[in-house]
């Protein structure tokens, strides 16, 4: 009986596979979307990709030379949070079974490294839409001929990420000085992970320079479910600003318990969980006044592309796009397709040569790929006013609002950045005795 059902299943699978192979008359452009599809990041990848593909297919496809080609997306679950070998198998499958022309996606650095290698083995363009590690792009500069097919679309690298956060910290400190007129004491709380180590060192060096007193550094585990011990210690240290670096569930725990215990300190920094719409519900409203970097925020406009993209996305998926969603969308719609149309072929080398020198507008700013000091392309993203800056957002009474950049300058004589829809930052009321 069991063997029967197994046999039937096999037969059924064969049928499905055959049926799926047939409708591929005419040439399509195959784009592999790889990501942890069971998780928010991967869902974002897929949502952004489908939106971009539908838009292009609705207008007839991509003009490649004299031919109109439709885009065909292939979903690959990398399962990279659980199993790195799985991620590489998924990538290999995309390359050799599905024979994709391009790949977008990726999130966990430990998995993106081997996935990058596989894509480079097959000389396929791989656009990273999730991992922030600088070293991924350093490889491009070091061994251009091998790694030139790798591009970063989002986020900008970790060095810029932490500099953005310092700008946020400086702004929060300025607000506190003005409203409370107290000396600023800052505590660093970062989840224990390799990506935070560099940031902690930078923070420990920078915070005193910003005119604040550093009172201590705490590193709970990234999955810690109880940080009351750390919180009591922070309160004891007299800190009134907490610089947070969280990407995992500890971000919820920390925000919720700090809010519940009314710890008299403002939270500023990176808290990936706080970027999600579900954060308010997840912290039961205790995450009020939490401040984090983010890429998109309802009501904030980088340029004329932002609002149409946001409206369409929210209408279709009923949530604010995450950066993986936006990045994947941009990678297909603004990076790949215009370059394919410009060179008029799917030849990877030609597209790379065209794409790396472009400067183009996306809903979150302007993308320009960086070069090292001696002029080698890194395919990393340029950061600063006029290019990509991201946002500082704060939860204010159940709504996520944009509060940064507000008249922000990278250099004293450089251009200034303020986007449409930015509102002033608020301090938790329990801070004012």
């Amino acid at each position: 009986m069991k063997i029967m059902t197994l046999g039937w299943r096999l037969a059924l699978t064969c049928c499905i596979v055959m049926v799926m192979c047939f409708p591929a008359w005419g040439r399509t452009i195959k784009i592999g979307v790889i990501g942890p599809m069971q998780f928010v990041q991967g869902k974002g990848h897929w949502a952004g990709a489908t939106m971009a593909a539908d838009e292009i297919n609705a207008r007839g496809g991509v003009q490649v030379g004299g031919e109109k080609m439709k885009i065909e997306l292939i979903k690959a679950d990398s399962n990279e949070f659980i199993n790195v070998a799985d991620a590489t198998n998924a990538m290999e499958r995309l390359m050799t079974q599905d024979k994709v022309d391009f790949v977008v996606g990726g999130f966990r650095t430990e998995a993106v490294f081997p996935m990058q290698d596989i894509a480079m083995d097959y000389k396929k363009i791989f656009i990273d839409c999730g991992a922030a590690t600088t070293a991924l792009c350093t490889r491009v500069a070091e061994n251009y001929n091998r790694y030139k097919y790798f591009f970063r679309q989002t986020p900008f690298n970790d060095i810029y990420l932490v500099r953005t956060s310092f700008a946020h910290l400086a702004m929060a400190a300025a607000v506190m000085k003005k409203e409370l007129n107290v000396p600023i004491k800052c505590a660093i709380v970062a989840e224990k992970a390799a990506w935070t180590d560099g940031m902690i060192k930078a923070a420990q060096a920078t915070i005193p320079k910003l005119g604040m007193e550093l009172v201590g550094t705490w590193q709970p585990s990234d999955k810690a479910t109880d940080v009351t011990a750390e919180l009591s210690a922070i309160q004891k240290s007299g800190a009134n600003v907490v610089f947070t670096i969280f990407s995992a569930s500890v971000g919820i725990t920390f925000a919720r318990q700090a809010g519940e215990l009314k710890i008299p300190a403002a939270q500023v920094g990176i808290n990936v969980e706080a970027q999600k719409d579900g954060f308010w519900e997840a912290t039961k409203g205790m995450g009020n006044y939490v401040f984090t970097t983010n890429t998109y925020c309802r009501g904030v406009e980088y340029n004329e592309l932002t609002t149409p993209f946001m409206d369409k996305f929210i209408k279709r998926f009923n949530e604010t796009p995450t950066y993986t969603a936006g990045g994947t969308h941009d990678a297909i719609l603004y990076a790949l397709v215009p370059s394919i149309e410009a060179v008029g072929s799917l030849d990877a080398d030609k597209i790379v040569a065209h794409l790396e020198n472009r400067e183009y507008k996306v809903p979150s700013g302007i993308v320009k790929y960086e070069k090292t000091k001696d002029g080698k392309p890194t395919h990393d993203l340029t950061w600063g006013p006029g290019y990509l800056t991201s946002l500082g957002v704060q939860w204010q009474d159940g709504k996520l609002v944009g509060v940064w950049p507000n008249k922000w300058k990278l250099a004293p004589d450089g251009p200034e950045a303020t986007y449409k829809g930015i509102v002033p930052m608020k301090l938790p009321p329990w801070l004012k005795k």
Partner: protein, 287 residues
């Protein structure tokens, strides 16, 4: 003072988990890897009932504990009992079971992080430390449960049977005790304890389908440190490791992520001196 309070709270949670695990091992020699998976299922049950359905939190907790117990008994009856004689098979069956629970939860609730409301909100301050009422409640529940388990084991006929079974299975069997039924009852109690842990802990943690992995390791460390099958041992060991974790967090703030590793190292060191754990009965070689 900080260390004392944090240690007490962490220890009490560990104790609750470890005692259930220890019980079923003692009686049935089942290393139930899925123990913490039951705890996860209970937590998700509460989330579903109280947040999605909108049931009274207390009521949903009771329902969840009952549901998990029934689930545990069914699983035992149909999946574990038939292969009881093969130790290795039981072991990987429980691992596979935990994976199934994890995947089903993942399908039903996705991988997003979830949280549950506190039963009583607010906090109070003791010696400069802020403590949630919820934590106090957890502590209370742990003490009551421990008392109940102790009473059950020491003062009732069932408890006597369980203890004698743990002491020597063959003789107990010869004395006319129904080994299989007793194992089933014990498993029920054990799973109910896991469910109860889920119920009191759910409001304090962040729910995700992989949450069973983390406490599993430290729970096993507690059980081994205390001596397999010894309730008293589990209790003492839970507090030892709880205090160790608190000490690490407070004395080496930058090394807070190392608390698990330090606790495990202590366990290994103790085992080097006392291979059967602190209070373990060094049961005779079973042939």
């Amino acid at each position: 003072m900080n260390i004392l309070i944090t240690g007490l709270i962490t220890g009490s949670m560990l104790a609750l988990l470890a005692i259930g695990f220890s019980l079923i091992f003692g009686v049935a020699r089942i290393v139930n890897i899925a123990h913490t998976a039951f705890y996860m299922v209970a937590a998700y049950c509460i989330y579903y009932l109280s947040v999605r359905v909108g049931l009274n939190p207390l009521l949903s907790m009771l329902t969840a504990v009952a549901a998990v117990t029934v689930l545990g008994l069914l699983v035992y009856k149909f999946l574990i009992d038939p292969i009881r004689e093969h130790e290795g098979a039981v072991l990987i069956a429980t691992i596979a079971l935990a994976m199934v629970f994890q995947e089903v939860t993942l399908r039903l609730f996705t991988g997003d992080y979830r949280t549950v409301d506190f039963l009583i909100t607010g906090f109070f301050t003791v010696g400069g430390v802020k403590v949630f009422y919820q934590q106090l409640l957890t502590f209370g529940v742990v003490l009551v449960t421990l008392g109940a388990v102790w009473f059950l084991l020491m003062k009732t006929r069932l408890g006597l049977a369980i203890r004698s079974m743990a002491e020597d299975r063959e003789v107990a069997n010869l004395m006319g005790m129904n080994e299989s039924r007793l194992a089933m009852i014990t498993l029920g109690i054990s799973v109910a304890l896991a469910g109860l842990t889920g119920a009191v802990l759910a409001p304090l943690t962040v729910l995700n389908p992989y949450m069973w992995m983390e406490p599993l390791i430290i729970m096993m460390a507690v059980v081994v440190l205390g001596g397999l099958g010894s309730i008293k041992g589990s209790f003492v060991a839970a507090f030892i490791l709880g205090f160790t974790e608190a000490l690490v967090v407070f004395l080496v703030p930058k090394g807070a992520f190392l608390k698990g590793s330090v606790a495990l190292t202590i366990m290994i060191l103790v085992l080097l001196i006392r291979p059967e754990g602190l209070f373990g009965v060094s049961f005779e070689e079973e042939r």
